[in-house]
Symmetry: C2
Subunit: 206 residues, 2 copies
């Protein structure tokens, strides 16, 4: 049985476990350093009044992101992938076994910084969110069609640096909609929190 | 035979072909959008007076980087990896068969934007150069030790944005030297070309 179909099977099983525990899970993907952790921090701030939030932070070998996220959420688990360049459904299956599932209703999963492989390895989340930033240049979307085709929400971050970079966030948004007209695209500044309210709206949490 | 040792074998063979043709090859790796293409453009500008330069540009599906580099170099070949997140020695072997090797003496290989897998897949180049930029944040080096351990030259780019990002390029340089004290680390601005002369010096071309 191929690696991808085995992963698909495990992802479907993860989804079943999340649904049984009434947890909505969001797979947060994006380029290296695009702002995934900063975005999750902002989302937790905006959601924690009415929710109990858990986080699985994926990274090669460090605990840096898990440490940064611990300040805001109830349960943060760091998963180290060693040399693997993406999270997979098996790592998530094992992580779920180490989380008190009855105590959370939203789960953010920060994927490894990579615009290529996570598109091929679903984790069983309900929503797939991709974060890119204007500092990566104007070709980010057109160069990585597969991941944007799979995204429910796309965040174009670091809009405060558009002028210095000579890159238009609005043009990047257009590029996304050309590939995937059903994607919700939001422009953000994850230092000030601009745009985060709009993302929370598209996520439709109660 | 494992995937990695098969790749190692093909890399050694590529190296042999390059040496027979008296070509110095540089594997240019780095994060997505860190400035690899901009750096190669700058290096070509600084070197073309005394050299004949070829480029292999690696990307998923587009020809964007090859197009941008064609203006400055004698032979530019685009290699598309499809869904593979790194170049491998086999793709380079086939690319070398499509380049007039007698007509170049320097070959730049732009790897796919990824700080993880290229560390595991040598291509047979003489030098390994890694480009990161201050806009990815302060943890880039400590989070990806393996690739910096393998690097001969490390470029910290977009230094014009240090203040706005609140990220110190000098600190990133220190982080590299802690992991790999033999690496040459150069700070650059690939829009103005600042720092490029220093990289050319470390490359020791005649
Ligand atoms: N100027 C600016 N900087 C930002 C913005 N959002 C995040 N940053 C900075 O960008 C850097 C990277 O942010 P992170 O949140 O760590 O990015 P990440 O995607 O989680 O990074 P990795 O997990 O390491 O791939 C940090 O220095 C942040 O402070 C923004 O909107 N504007
Ligand atoms: N402000 C600033 N922008 C830069 C600098 N170097 C490159 N850029 C910009 O950064 C963006 C990405 O540059 P590229 O050279 O395409 O980066 P890359 O690493 O080749 O990108 P990919 O191949 O797509 O991964 C472009 O918009 C460049 O103009 C720099 O030193 N400062
Ligand atoms: Mg992070
Ligand atoms: Mg490029
Ligand atoms: Zn991968
Ligand atoms: Zn990979």
């Amino acid at each position: 049985e191929s690696l991808l179909s085995k992963n698909r099977e495990l992802a479907d099983n993860n989804r079943k476990i999340l649904d049984e525990n009434e947890i909505i899970a969001i797979d947060v993907m994006g380029s290296i350093g695009s702002g995934k952790t900063s975005l999750i921090k902002n989302l937790i701030k905006g959601l924690k009044a009415g929710h109990r939030i858990g986080v699985i932070a994926g990274d090669l070998t460090t605990e840096i992101d898990a440490e940064r996220l611990r300040e805001g959420s109830t349960q943060v688990l760091q998963v180290n992938t060693g040399k693997e360049c993406h999270l997979d459904a098996n790592l998530i299956k094992r992580a779920l076994e180490n989380i008190k599932l009855k105590e959370i209703d939203i789960l953010f999963i920060e994927n490894v910084g990579n615009l290529i492989c996570p598109a091929e390895f679903p984790l069983g989340a309900h929503k797939r969110l991709v974060v890119i930033s204007v500092t990566e240049g104007p070709y980010m979307v057109v160069k990585h069609p597969f991941i944007f085709r799979e995204a429910d929400i796309v965040v174009i971050n670091k809009i405060d640096l558009q002028v210095q970079m000579g890159v238009s966030a609005a043009k990047l948004k257009e590029d996304v909609l050309k590939i995937n007209k059903k994607a919700k695209v939001v422009l953000t500044n994850c230092v000030t929190g601009e745009g985060v309210k709009e993302i929370i709206k598209c996520m439709n949490f109660q």
